[in-house]
Assembly symmetry: D2
Homo-oligomer: 388 residues x 4
């Protein structure tokens, strides 16, 4: 093994590589969270964050992980015993289901094979069958971080609308926001859940809820107990640029810097870059003679690619060799995919040459692990990068 | 007004001045939270944090504000409808009471005048009266950040014990931990609540629960709904140095650095420094001819001093002048103390000369605001600093 | 002794306290010094630096200490055996004289008592006596860092002009630039020498020469050997934003940030702030019953104050006590002033409360060292800060 | 063109990519250069730097660029009119020759074709011919940054010894130190010249001279004028951990961190890593069907590789395309190589995957520029990285 030198390749699907200006912004001195400078910062941020969600409405920012933002979406809109419709698209959808149950909700969980997104037809069927409108909310993970499969939110929205069903639409964009095209308002989402450490290019520590008018109405009658997560006092204090608790000032410094970076590149360009990098990555996988886990090309993720190995290979062994030999972190197979897949993150602050280095490392690691691969894989990826 | 130059004087009672090595530690690149380097970091931290709480037991670290840690303490140990005993020692004790009620607990709230801590005799009386042992927990704020008054935890513990009452003892050390002598194990506390941005000298964004064996037992039968705050999956994952969600890596970098700084100075020296600075501050207040809000000298806070002005003066005007003219932030009067007091934070990473500058600024600001003060106040403070 | 906590008080007359934004700017990744981004940076800097010198002409920036900038001024304008006129205003003027001699110049050194600046009458006399115009240059230290005495450059310029003497005027502004009013063009200075670590609020590592037209003419016939310091290749490469060697990129990042800070405050406000802080410091010294070293109030330095102790006291003992007890660095007595004076730096990024803390520390340190002082000194300083 | 995101690829042969810990170290507050903490830092550094040069003798550190260290080597050891022997190995050797002449030395300059190092036989011949021992020094560039060719110092030393000639041996290791095996003492070098921004992984701003006993003796009779560069006052002040001028404190913080990184990896491992990366790079160049500029495989540089294009191609166009499309900086052709070569830096803080990304970018850039290349080049490089 070669002793580590140079920059670590952090190619998991989040946390992503934090840009230097964001890291340095975070190192600025903490200020009084009740003073005028903080209010200026917060008022600016609270506006500037909205376009990233594709909303003109409020975005609540929590000191929390993404799981906290999941919980916030549920406790602010639902009551004990409420029925919710969820889908087994992968590991994180399953964890979110578990959380809903622990909080006292009744989850109708549509099984899945972890290679496909939510089927809008199933949404239509389930809601059509719910003539009593017992289902209070539909929970969808936009981009399953465990599988690299996206769900088609506009089609799901259409299915709900076509069924004339009043259920709320709650969408987890934890690994898609700021990486994959997403439109809270246009797509009629009621609560969008996100966090800092993926496309927003920040360290972990911030959770987000973008909130529709309909969700705010639901809040007024929602009876799940809540205090920390309650939107109401946050939204009220936010009016003046403050928080009802001590906000995570230094991460907010970083958020401002990250939003400026996204604005500078332009969201459309950011999404196009992610699409291109994902395409190059899939070209490599196919060129190697391996399979992309995602089974439906309409649902390819532009944020990460899960690579499926044959049963004779151990994906974690591949990851370990790559970490030891090439100082690169890749995502492990989670839950039922343990040992079967590894995941390549290509989201956040990334460029062509870092992706080329990443794919070079994967190719060499597969070879070292005894997985037969055609080196034309890397060449196919470069072809995409060079010409697209 | 003089345009700002030099370092801002952040003399609120938290967030405190973050030491440069901590800020720079936070700016290190984020790493894989499932990789071996993270586990090394976390295992080290989870041990190193214990002595700061005076415990040999586990400490749960959350990505949250201190209010999140309040909520965690309640939902992990209590069930809907449980009765708890709380004390109106000030603004934050009142907010914690409100939270308990919102979460579905029944709070017996002992009124107070916001100038005194919890009276151990009242604890004894209330518990003695509760022969049915309906009170599940006693909630105490160790150091009331809104008033600069500490409560005497060992005497409260003794009162509980003397009453032979099984109630849990939950203690908020948000503005005392790492600044004022505190002993989770020795004092028989069940859950100690803390956060990052005070004596721990970090930016806001981390909440803490130190947990006794008895609290862990209570957890197993506690029925308040919980997911994000649940100790169980955290403690289980912590065994191997991991978290059940993405942990706030960069703030944890800072925590390691902050713990090293506390170890280097030594906790006893840290506490003695805070005592000395508090004594100097009170000497100044008295020398100016003003009153310390805290009415019982056994309960003086070593972390902050609230200064009570006569009714003819507006404490917020004093604060505004000091901010505008001397670029120093002081704490405002909260709740019923609005306009009547200002608070001088003297906790965290602070030295004699910064305190001297702070007190100089307060003295000049009082004079500029038309509050008659005897300039011997500052001189009395220096006398303490020079000789103690 | 109290273990160090809080921020060190760096109150020597340079290096000064570097503002956080400057430190963080320096931590940005180094870039290609031959690429377009570097040229953009350099072209911007090379314009933006000019007003700080009060010039519309070129400023050469070296990777060097201030002594390097001294050498540059000499070797670019003079030839072996040239006669120069210099003045014993203090330690640094003496060192500069030594350097001139080592480089092969003949120095006419006017003796001084280290408590006064250059006497314009003496300049007039010496130049009048030099009817052959053998004196090629007059070397003046604008602000003697060892004594806290300034020399009156406009009067010196007038003396040269009145004598009708063609000598160049070389001025060291190492501890005055960016702190004390200075005007390269208006005052007819030929080479202004400066460095980064004083009023420019940067770490050490950059030296500067502002260069007049007349100095450029002198360059063409100057025969002292030179390569590294030669202005010509620098000025030529600077036209396009480049350097003939690898420039100190990261310090230049810091310089840009520092110049933005100076622009934001405004040079006039910066100078007024320094004047005010110096006045407050002298008020303290007099109030304590001690003497300011500078003997002529027209020559008081707004950048530092040297405090003269009676012979029965050891100034270095005072400094040592202050460093040990209060974590503050003060300037030592240099050369013939060793043990007799200590120097308080009040230049660069400084505000009222840090100065108040500084003077508090000096007062306490004097008391601890057994130097009898009247505590009214500090009070007198606060009076200045509060009212001016 | 794709808007820049991700980390810039700085693959010029210096400045190199500065490791994050070094950048953060540099952002620490500047301290008193005359205080005890500085002395501790300097005394530690001055010892710790020696093994990097392969010496047990003193190393002088200047605030300067590498050209400053060239000048220091000359003015400390030589006198006006002294004859020196130098070799046209490339652009930098030519610049050093120019400097020597400007300082008043007489240079015997052996012509070269910029594809080979110094021929030890020519050294032998020239010195043998100099029976009067008029040649005072032999000037050799160890690793020509403009060509990627190293000179064989031990053979040159042997040639001098075999000739029984007393000339000093002055060696420029600007782009080899800390990257390519080098031994000041063992190889009998008298002055080794280096700087910070290459293998030492620092920003530019520090120059170094390692000094032999013989060089120190030469110093005592050397008569080139010197002040700033004079070793004597530096070495004297260094004894106590100080400098005769204000040292570049923040870059020294970075130097300590960089030396710790080199120690952690181990110099032997550092050199082996550079050898391996250079071999992979040459494998790519050959695989592409292009030529390495270095004509003698004994003289291949492990720090950089200059790639020679056919006359029908413009190397600067290739570089421009690579910068625009892939955000990577490569070295330009200097002097007579302008437009004919581009240079790939593979020195400093670098790992396999960054090199793979670098070579991917070069391959794609060549293709985009219309230079026909065989994509087997990259594959050949990966083969080296995977198996070596």
């Amino acid at each position: 093994m070669v002793a580590p030198s140079g920059r670590h390749f952090l190619q998991i699907p989040g946390p992503t590589n934090v840009p230097d200006p964001v890291l340095l912004a975070i190192a600025q001195p903490t200020i009084d969270h009740r003073g005028p400078d903080f209010a200026d910062l917060a008022l600016d941020l609270l506006q500037r964050i909205r376009p990233v969600f594709g909303t003109t409405g409020p975005v609540v920012i929590y000191p929390s992980s993404g799981t906290g933002a999941w919980e916030a979406a549920l406790v602010n809109t639902l009551s004990p015993g409420d029925r919710v419709l969820a889908f087994e698209t992968g590991h994180f959808a399953t964890l979110w289901r578990d959380m809903a149950e622990r909080l006292g909700l009744v989850v109708e969980f549509v099984p899945g094979d972890w290679r496909r997104g939510v089927d809008p037809l199933v949404v239509a069927e389930r809601l059509a069958a719910d003539t009593a409108h017992a289902i209070a909310a539909v929970m969808v993970v936009h981009n399953e971080t465990s599988t690299g499969v996206t769900s088609r939110i506009p089609e799901i929205r259409a299915a709900i609308d076509d069924a004339g069903h009043p259920a709320l639409l709650l969408v987890d964009t934890i690994s898609s926001l700021g990486s994959i095209d997403y439109r809270h308002d246009e797509w009629g989402v009621d609560v969008t859940i996100a966090c800092s450490q993926k496309g927003l290019m920040l360290p972990p520590g911030l959770g987000f809820n973008a909130v529709s008018e309909k969700a705010l109405s639901a809040h007024s009658s929602a009876r799940l107990p809540k205090a920390y997560w309650d939107w109401a006092p946050v939204l009220e204090a936010n009016e003046r640029g403050y928080y009802p608790y001590t906000p995570p000032t230094n991460l907010l410094y970083g958020l401002r810097e990250a939003l400026l970076l996204l604005e500078k590149e332009g969201l459309a360009a950011v999404f196009a870059r992610h699409d291109r990098h994902a395409e190059a990555t899939r070209a490599a996988v196919r060129g190697w003679g391996l399979d992309v886990l995602c089974a439906d090309e309409r649902e390819y993720s532009s944020a990460l690619t899960a690579v499926l190995l044959g049963e004779e290979h151990d994906a974690d062994k591949v990851r370990r060799i790559i970490l030891d030999r090439f100082d690169m972190s890749l995502g492990t197979g989670l839950g039922r995919l343990a040992g079967r897949v590894f995941r390549i993150g290509h989201l956040g602050d990334l460029n062509d040459l870092t992706l080329a280095g990443t794919l070079s490392g994967v190719q060499m690691g597969l070879e070292l692990a005894g997985v037969p691969v055609d080196p034309a894989g890397l060449q196919a990826a470069l072809e995409v990068l060079r010409t697209a």
